[in-house]
């Protein structure tokens, strides 16, 4: 599955990563799988880093599939 990054996560991880769907196929599971595979991805474990599935902001319990578009991002700063 493809995972996108914006804001601080993108600064350390780049724009996206391709990963295998983790056994714990939830947003929280994706966070942990990425962080275990790469120490730089520890940023994803910070509570302020939010997630979306198919462009809808969601929480860590949301179930994901191989076709989900998952993104992790830091606080918005528009204007």
């Amino acid at each position: 599955m493809k995972v996108l990054f914006f804001g601080r996560p993108a600064d350390v991880l780049g724009r996206s990563r391709e990963i295998n769907l983790p056994d714990d196929a939830t947003i929280g599971g994706v966070r942990r799988a990425l962080a275990e595979a790469d120490p730089a991805a520890a940023v994803l474990l910070e509570p302020s880093i939010r997630a979306s599935v198919d462009r809808q902001i969601t929480d860590d319990l949301t179930v994901v599939t191989n076709s989900s578009e998952v993104a992790f991002f830091s606080t918005f700063s528009g204007g």
Binding site: F6, G7, S77, G78
Partner: protein, 156 residues
Amino acid sequence: MRIETRLTTETIDATRVLDRFTKAASGAGAVVSFTGIVRGGDGVTALELDHYPGMTEDSIETLAQETADRFRVSSLLAVHRTGYIPAGETVVFVAAAAEHRRAAFQAADCLMDRLKSEAAIWKREITADGGARRIEPHDKDHEDRRRWMEDDGGHR
């Protein structure tokens, strides 16, 4: 009620956008606009704004819709630029038209405060030495946002 939101990587000509908005808002008694310009100084030469195609447009549209629903405006416009924006250029433009001035002032003010912390945009300052510094909303921005969470909606 007319609501228009736009995301662009092109230069925003605020004077022209306001002129067009005002002409289209015929019948309104008040037009208020805000132009946000990239501040130079402290070695900052530009801002770089990243966005998430699809989600960012939706977030700005939702904020404009909610703002228009809350205040008595006849039209509301938000134009946000993304990408590399040199100091001195316009990063965001908001305009509100209403029958009376208070609603127009409040709608423009509220929409700007909400865009700062709720539009799906990520900002970095680019400095003359080639460095980049991530900008995240500070306490003042959250305080500004909270002004619009009061039940009276700032109608004091």
